[in-house]
């Protein structure tokens, strides 16, 4: 149910993020989502790509330090308070969200969010039980 996110270490200085995305683009890797969390000095850039294995190889080659983190991609119901509903479902069952960011899927008008939670399986079950859809990467295209 989860998808693989690549989290990489970057220094927080001008041009570092562009340098990172250049590496992926040059190798024909398509980024589906990107988020940056940063402190004054450094940041963690998190990406969902069409090929996580290739992404890992390319980044390794380029000397980046990264990790692969399982996250879930959740379809946000297209109703008022849709995101709120998802957050409440997880919160009420004690699943903590470490971070979340938006994610756009091609060819569809649906809104997705990436969730990094304390327990992927528990989260997936809760959401499924409540009729919320999640996607594997293949579904998104």
């Amino acid at each position: 149910m989860s998808i693989k996110q690549i989290s990489a270490f970057v220094e927080n200085k001008p041009g570092q993020l562009a340098k990172f995305t250049d590496v992926l683009t040059q190798h024909g890797i398509d980024m589906r989502a990107l988020s940056l969390a940063e402190t004054e000095d450094f940041g963690i850039v998190r990406v969902i790509t069409d090929d996580s294995y290739k992404t890992a190889c390319v980044l390794k080659e380029a000397g980046y330090i990264f990790s692969i983190t399982p996250v879930i991609a959740v379809e946000i119901p297209d109703i008022p308070g849709g995101l709120n509903k998802v957050l409440h479902l997880l919160n009420d069952k004690g699943v903590n969200i470490e971070y979340t960011y938006a994610f756009t899927a091609r060819k569809q008008d649906t809104a997705y969010m990436i969730f990094r939670v304390t327990d992927n399986e528990a989260a997936a079950e809760i959401l499924k039980d409540n009729g919320i859809c999640m996607f594997d990467l293949e579904d998104i295209d």
């Binding site: 996110q5 989290s7 270490f9 970057v10 220094e11 969390a37 940063e38 402190t39 000095d41 450094f42 940041g43 963690i44 998190r46 000397g63 980046y64 330090i65 990264f66 990790s67 983190t69 470490e98 990094r116």
Partner: protein, 434 residues
């Protein structure tokens, strides 16, 4: 130039007289150390020297050196020169690998040290009518107690402020009419700036300052002198030898007079140990000829200096040493505190970081900034910003405990630390002090 001395009979003695004192005191000191300090006795035996080989100061070169490594090895009591019960105080400074240097003082050591500091104060124009504000730290650091003792000896009203608390420093300066300020040059700069910013320049009565414990430039001197309208004088010392007052500047402001009736200075080639003639640049070596508690013989300071034997216009006959022009090891002095790269390396390794680091020292508004860049590793990386930041905080804490001062840690990308000929450049000192 106003000529005033604390002990003119010593400070202005003939060179022959100074040499005679040195010879007589050295011979006695070597005998005493040989008997009381087994560690040094062994160094002498290893070198094949006996107390009888030292007949005068001309024989000094025959004695073995004491290095920082010896201090570490002999820690804490191995170089003690008097019974512990005769010692009345210690001072301490950081050593090469986190092992501290602890120096012992008998009452006589303290009295002589106070006299040395009194000479420095009088050379700056002090008499008993002066009000001396000591803004060096009081504690294990020698600065506060040293100048405090000197000020008492001169009979000045002494304000034992210690370092920090700028508002109160300036308040006392204005309200009590401080005439002589003693602190690090960077703190003096900071005080000068703050006083100017607050428009208090007319409210202060300062006439002179004694600023030591860290390197400073002529440009800084002129800045401080012009901003505060004072004479800014340098002072030299190190805990191993006694503290501030080993050498002091006079109003001629051209080198620091070494208190040669207590300390014999030599300049050596740091590579060969060979003694160099006056005027040549090399490593400064001191021999304490009157100290009892911690009698260093031929202690290698690692400071690179030049000795000047020319007569000084102030009338003092003591040799003058230049400001240190660098170090023969990789020690840095940051905010008046000794920092060894090996200490930082020890902390990094203890905390699981690799030894790929770079130390960057800079100076902003005359205040030192210490930064440590550390290369990120796969083991230390995590997807959680919080986790990385908290590890970073732990590292900052550990460095603070080891060094005694705050160092900013910056995590950098792997292989981003500059390497020259395959070797990482460990230290970047942007202060241009030497």
């Amino acid at each position: 130039m106003e000529k005033r001395y604390f002990q003119p009979e010593a400070e202005c003695a003939s060179r022959e007289q100074i040499r005679a004192w040195q010879s007589e005191r050295l011979v006695a000191q070597v005998k005493r150390v040989y008997e009381n300090v087994p560690y040094y006795r062994n160094l002498m035996i290893d070198k094949g020297v006996e107390p009888g080989d030292i007949q005068s100061a001309d024989d000094l070169y025959k004695l073995p050196f004491i290095t920082k490594d010896d201090l570490r090895e002999a820690y804490p009591f191995g170089l003690l020169g008097a019974p512990l019960e005769d010692c009345v105080r210690i001072h301490s400074t950081s050593g090469t690998t986190g092992k501290r240097v602890v120096a012992f003082y008998t009452q006589s050591d303290i009295d002589l040290w106070d006299q040395c500091c009194a000479r420095a104060l009088v050379a700056a124009g002090a008499d008993k009518s002066d009000i001396v504000q000591v803004a060096y730290g009081y504690g294990l650091f020698t600065g506060g107690f040293g100048l405090n003792g000197g000020s008492h000896k001169v009979g000045c009203l002494t304000i034992p402020m210690s370092s920090g608390n700028t508002d109160r420093q300036i308040e006392f300066m204005c309200d009590l009419g401080t005439t002589i300020l003693c602190c690090t040059p960077s703190y003096a700069s900071y005080l000068a700036e703050t006083i100017t910013e607050r428009g208090l320049r007319d409210k202060i009565k300062l006439k002179a300052g004694i600023f030591g414990a860290e390197a400073w430039t002529e440009e800084m001197r002129h800045d401080i002198e012009n901003t505060l309208g004072i004479k800014a004088l340098d002072i030299y010392g190190l805990t191993e030898i006694t503290g501030p007052g080993v050498a002091y500047e006079c109003l001629a402001q051209h080198g620091m007079h070494i208190n040669e009736d207590h300390f014999i200075a030599e300049i050596i080639n740091p590579k060969t140990g060979e003694v160099l003639p006056y005027g040549e640049k090399g490593e400064l070596v001191f021999t304490c000829i009157t100290k009892q508690g911690f009698p260093m013989l031929r202690y290698r300071t690692k400071d690179i200096c030049v000795l000047n034997a020319e007569p000084c216009e102030c009338g003092r006959t003591f040799l003058r040493m230049s400001k240190p022009m660098g170090r023969s090891d990789d020690m840095l002095i940051v905010k008046g505190v000794n920092v060894f790269p090996s200490q930082i390396e020890t902390v990094l390794l203890n905390k699981g970081y690799p030894a790929n680091y770079q130390i960057i020292v800079s100076r902003e508004k005359h205040s030192d900034i210490l930064e440590v860049n550390v290369e990120m590793t796969p083991e230390m990386f995590s997807d959680s910003l919080r986790e990385i930041s908290s590890r970073e905080k732990e590292l900052v804490e550990a460095l603070k405990i080891m060094l005694g001062i705050y160092a900013k840690v910056r995590l950098v990308e792997p292989k981003s630390i500059a390497r020259s000929e395959g070797k990482a450049v460990r230290i970047i000192d942007k202060r241009n002090l030497y």
